[in-house]
């Protein structure tokens, strides 16, 4: 069956890069799962084992996804989108908080806790791809209202959790997809301006801890505040920066970073949001750049897929996944290095976290799927009994949407 997916060497390279990132991530999740105890009697948490489980589940789901074409998913894109919204709504009422963070972000599903917002990103990408290929935009500003509406609803729900960082990731996704779909740059610029105004209006209404994080970020080099490390965020920022800096060129060695091993980077964020600080400390500038380069390579390979795919919807899906992974990776690493305020975002494929791992792997599975199905015509597909009905919808004309 896999043989029917026509994987090019490029796809194999993409898989190799993915494997490398997963391996590095697992290694550092292991290193960061160490908890120091009195007199050096530390122990390792179970998070590396769980991470392996999640990777396995993710890979199986990704493989399973290859049995159907992304076009089938597109067909049900709005349904999936509504399911995702339902999940987000459920979180607001039945969600659980984790022991570390006072925010309802998880849904208890048997032994697991899933974070619907992670999956909502993928559903939104599918819905946007579907919408943007379905509609014939006239390049008017108003035509952008629906796509932004599509992201605004999940964003608002996620902000209610609250999870501002996750909500903000939807913006690069929608901007990148609209841009790739041919929206006018000045229209997008106008929307950016609009968002800036909205942000200033929203500022007094955001949570106190969020304001504190922004303040900590803005004042991180202010000597008056620097000594006053009682505020946790600033402490976290300081310790992460110290960890990164102390890595110097080649790092203190895997499993040997003192900031990590001695708990100076707080344990609750060390193996997810701040894993990049651990990588920087233990592998140094060289290792950190290796990780960044792997990401870039991953994105470029995805970009090549997007360029090659003739199907507009498929291309938009790939662009959405690129935006999703790229923006998260940049925001996460920049945050650890003190270039952005602290937000609770994972480093995709590397950080510990089941939902994040699943959504990243599934996102890449979509890319592989698009790549594998780039040349197939629907007639070649054995799609089942209602294949004929689907034929009416395809083939989608290339670059017919949103053209001026």
């Amino acid at each position: 069956m896999i043989g029917r997916l026509r994987l090019t060497p490029r796809d194999w390279l993409l898989l190799a890069v993915l494997g490398a990132l997963l391996a590095i991530g697992l290694a550092f999740v292991y290193s960061a799962s160490y908890r120091s105890g009195p007199m050096g009697e530390g122990y390792y948490t179970s998070s590396p084992a769980k991470q392996i489980q999640w990777i396995a589940i993710g890979l199986i789901l990704a493989l399973a996804l290859q049995f159907l074409s992304y076009r089938h998913l597109l067909e049900h894109a709005y349904a999936l989108y509504l399911v995702g919204l339902g999940g987000l709504a459920l979180v607001l009422y039945f969600g659980v908080t984790s022991e570390e963070i006072m925010a309802r972000r998880w849904l208890p599903l048997g032994p697991f806790r899933v974070q619907p917002s992670e999956f909502m990103k993928l559903f939104t990408i599918l819905a946007l791809a579907r919408y943007l290929t379905d509609t014939q935009g006239q390049g008017r500003l108003l035509a952008l209202a629906v796509p932004f509406g599509l992201v605004a609803i999940p964003m608002l729900l996620i902000v209610r959790e609250p999870d501002l960082g996750m909500a903000l990731v939807f913006l690069p996704i929608v901007f990148a997809m609209l841009y790739a779909a041919g929206a006018r740059v000045r229209h997008l610029g106008a929307i950016v301006a609009l968002l800036a105004v909205a942000a200033t209006i929203a500022w007094p209404h955001i949570h106190a801890y969020q304001k504190e994080r922004v303040r900590a970020f803005l004042l991180q080099d202010d000597p008056r505040v620097r000594g006053d490390l009682r505020r946790l965020d600033l402490y976290q920022l300081e310790q992460a920066k110290a960890a990164i800096g102390s890595g110097q060129l080649f790092g203190q060695g895997w499993m040997r970073g003192s900031q990590n091993r001695l708990n100076y980077i707080p344990a609750k964020t060390r193996n997810n949001d701040f894993i990049f600080a651990v990588i920087c400390e233990e592998w140094g500038f060289a290792g950190a750049n290796l990780v960044l380069a792997l990401y870039l390579l991953l994105l470029v390979l995805c970009g090549l897929v997007a360029e090659e795919v003739r199907n507009a919807a498929g291309r938009l899906i790939v662009v959405g996944v690129i935006a999703m992974l790229g923006s998260q990776a940049i925001i996460n690493t920049a945050m650890a290095a003190g270039q952005l305020p602290i937000v609770g975002l994972t480093l995709p494929l590397v950080s510990y976290g089941g939902s994040s791992m699943l959504s990243s792997l599934l996102g890449l599975a979509l890319v592989i799927n698009v790549s594998a199905h780039r040349g197939t015509s629907l007639s070649a597909d054995t799609l089942g009994p209602d294949a004929g009905a689907r034929r009416a919808m395809a083939p989608m004309p290339e670059e017919t949407f949103m053209r001026r």
């Binding site: 105890g37 050096g40 041919g182 102390s246 001695l262 994105l299 470029v300 940049i330 920049a334």
Partner: protein, 693 residues
């Protein structure tokens, strides 16, 4: 078009990664060294470990001073209720001073005003600060005085009063201690979270009350640390000295290292020897703090011990002081103002150094003696009191005249010479050297000094016998006494030396001044055949390693006295005590009160009485100096009594006291001296008599 847009998105992503990478380059490569240092520091913690101060023991091994656990009450400044109101103004003041390029804040005097009505306290600070300011191109030093005021808020004051009632000390006292401790925080010598001791040795019950009810005494904690205990209380208090909390000035001086030892450096609230042996051997007695360098995690839990330098107990001192002799000497002069010293003549080991009145060093921290007390109990009269010597000086003169072959064979004393009188014997009378000493004839020595030896000869011999110089005993604050010379007078008054002044010096009167220890030392030199020893108090130090070591010793000076001539002096001194006409015959011969000393003890004593006048209406100084036994001298002794009346002689008071000390001299100092059975019988009788009363 679409291809271009996809590339644009990728380039944007590349830009993002480049931005992060640039930041990493700054943090890891440019500032990497800084952060590596920071990380090294943040995970390393150094901890002091403490050890006790060395004990002081008497020659027989009895503990005279040692550390025992004590409970102190301390305030953690930033845990007090309303602490910002109390602490911030003070700290701000210091910060202000520091920013003004301050060189030193000199003294902080805290005046606490008890505001009875409002229930609060006002604390005002006197600050004297030295500033260094740049005026033009020159650094100018200027001194400024200032006061600052802090009103202690009601809640803090209420807790304070509760604690004060518990430890039975005035609240103002605690406040004063606290603000002095806070001043150290202001100087950066202590952190705000570290406890400042405000009451020492509060007793177990008060400590337990505070320890078990932290909610009732917010900000107060119990600090357990050593307190100095002197089990024999006032015994040898002057020689031992006492300890006190280190002062701000001492702290400033020894904060980094103490006489070159970093491990012995001082921290606030440490104890320091103030006087006596405690001061002189403070460095040896002081424990060396240990340092533990630990690797700690973020919760400050120890991960590894990187370095462990163990704390070292201070050295134990073994004194030459003999507890029995010391208490005999103290008992003898009890009730008088004076001093008594007993010394081994050959070695200079001091067996007893008593000064009266005494004090109890255990009470000192809480009940310091009244500074206006005229009897000055803190003064160690044996080394700090300077007195005219009187006719005991004639011993030196006689030896000098004999050695220089300038002693007149015999002169006729008519009772006066150059207007100076001799009222010590019936006149006129022919006196030779022996008679002159025995009867303490003044005229013989007026003439010897003026006509034979000359003032320079007298001064030369007084210097040789160590008068007017510190003896070098290992005690602080020793006074040198004073030996007048013609050169001194010319310099001081611009006047030549008069013959009358020679007469004054000849009989040891003003302006000659000596300390009792100097006297005991020269008597010991007469007793041991002419070696001027350095008085010693410490036999050995036993360090933490258990190895004993002896404090370095100056070789004693030999005066090269002719034995035959010295023997004449010994004989005269014996006759003073045991022959008819001797000035101390009354004390050592048979009388109604006591039997003959030689018959009771089996040996004879050599001595010299001496009475010196102090100027004005002040009473006489009575001396009795000497050695025993006369035939084979073992110990030298000096008893000095400050009298309140003028018409009192050394023979009347000091000599009987010396006899009382000698009677109680333990047998171990008289080994080989015949008459042991006699002495044992006498001591039995003495013990019966003393237990009977």
């Amino acid at each position: 078009m679409s291809r271009f847009r996809i590339r644009a998105i990728l380039i944007l992503a590349f830009g993002g990664f480049l931005m992060v990478s640039t930041r990493l380059f700054y943090l890891q490569v440019v500032r990497g060294e800084h952060y590596r240092d920071y990380v090294e520091n943040v995970r390393v913690e150094t901890k002091w470990t403490e050890a006790g101060r060395g004990a002081i023991r008497a020659a027989g091994g009895e503990l005279l001073a040692y550390d025992e656990p004590g409970f102190h009450i301390a305030i953690v400044p930033n845990a007090l209720p309303d602490w910002p109101l109390v602490c911030k103004p003070v700290l701000k003041l210091y910060e202000l001073r520091r920013r003004e390029r301050i060189a030193a804040v000199r003294d902080v005097t805290v005046v606490v005003k008890d505001r009875a009505a409002g229930g609060g306290y006002e604390v005002s600070f006197g600050l004297a600060a030295t500033f260094l300011r740049l005026a033009g191109t020159e650094l100018v030093e200027s001194e400024e005085q200032g006061t600052a005021m802090v009103v202690v808020p009601r809640r803090a004051a209420a807790v304070l009063e509760a604690v004060a009632a518990l430890v039975k000390a005035p609240a103002t006292e605690l406040l004063k201690e606290f603000f002095e401790g806070l001043a150290l925080v202001g100087r950066g010598w202590r952190r705000l979270g570290e406890p400042c001791v405000v009451a020492r040795d509060v007793g177990f019950l008060a400590a337990a009350e505070i320890e078990t009810n932290p909610d009732r005494y917010p900000g107060f904690v119990v600090a357990a640390s050593a307190r100095r205990n002197y089990p024999y209380e006032s015994l040898a208090c002057h020689a031992l000295g006492y300890v006190q909390r280190v002062s701000a000035a001492e702290l400033e001086r020894w904060r980094e290292s103490y006489n070159g030892s970093e491990a012995k450096r001082f921290l606030p609230d440490d104890l320091i020897g103030r006087t006596g042996i405690e001061r002189a051997f403070d460095f040896d007695l002081r424990p060396a703090r240990g340092v533990q360098t630990l690797e700690v995690d973020a919760a400050r839990r120890t991960q590894r011990v990187l370095e462990d330098v163990p704390a070292e107990h201070g050295a134990d001192l073994y004194l030459s002081l003999d507890r029995e002799v010391q208490s005999a000497a103290e008992a003898a002069i009890e009730g008088h103002i004076g001093a008594a010293i007993v010394m081994e003549a050959a070695s200079g080991r001091i067996l007893a150094m008593a000064s009266s009145p005494r004090y109890n060093p255990n009470d000192l921290p809480r009940k310091p003696p009244d500074p206006n007390d005229k009897t000055a109990p803190l003064l160690n009269r044996a080394i700090q009191g300077q007195y005219p010597l009187g006719s005991a000086f004639k011993l030196i003169e006689a030896i000098g005249a004999l050695e220089d072959n300038k002693a007149p064979a015999s002169i006729e004393c008519t009772g006066a010479y150059l207007g100076h009188l001799c009222e010590n014997h019936s006149v006129p009378m022919h006196v030779d050297l022996e008679n002159a000493l025995k009867r303490s004839c003044n005229v013989y020595f007026y003439r010897t000094a003026n006509e034979f030896l000359g003032i320079n000869g007298v001064v030369k011999w007084a210097e040789r016998f160590g008068l007017g110089q510190r003896t070098g005993v290992s005690l602080p604050h020793e006074r040198p006494g004073f030996l007048p010379t013609p050169a001194w007078k010319l310099k001081k008054y611009g006047e030549p030396w008069y013959a009358g002044e020679t007469c004054n010096v000849a009989i040891g009167q003003y302006p000659l001044e000596v300390t009792p220890l100097q006297v005991c030392r020269f008597v010991a030199a007469i007793a041991n055949g002419g070696r001027l020893v350095r008085p010693r108090l410490v036999d050995k130090l036993v360090g933490a390693d258990g190895r004993p070591r002896t404090p370095e010793e100056d070789p004693s000076e030999t005066l090269r006295l002719t034995p035959a001539k010295l023997d004449r002096i010994h004989k005269v001194m014996r006759s003073v005590c045991h022959e008819l006409g001797g000035t101390a015959r009354k004390a050592f011969g048979r009388s109604e009160a006591h039997g003959d000393f030689a018959q009771e003890q089996g040996y004879e004593v050599a001595g010299k009485t001496s009475t010196a006048e102090r100027g004005g209406a002040r009473g006489n100084i009575g001396w009795f100096v000497g050695f025993a036994p006369c035939s084979s001298p073992r110990i030298a002794f000096t008893v000095m009594i400050e009298h309140e009346e003028q018409r009192i002689h050394g023979a009347d008071v000091a000599a009987p006291l010396a006899r009382r000390i000698l009677e109680r001299l333990p047998e171990r100092y008289l080994e080989g001296v015949p008459g042991r059975e006699l002495r044992e019988r006498f001591r039995e009788r003495l013990a019966r008599r003393e237990s009977g009363t």
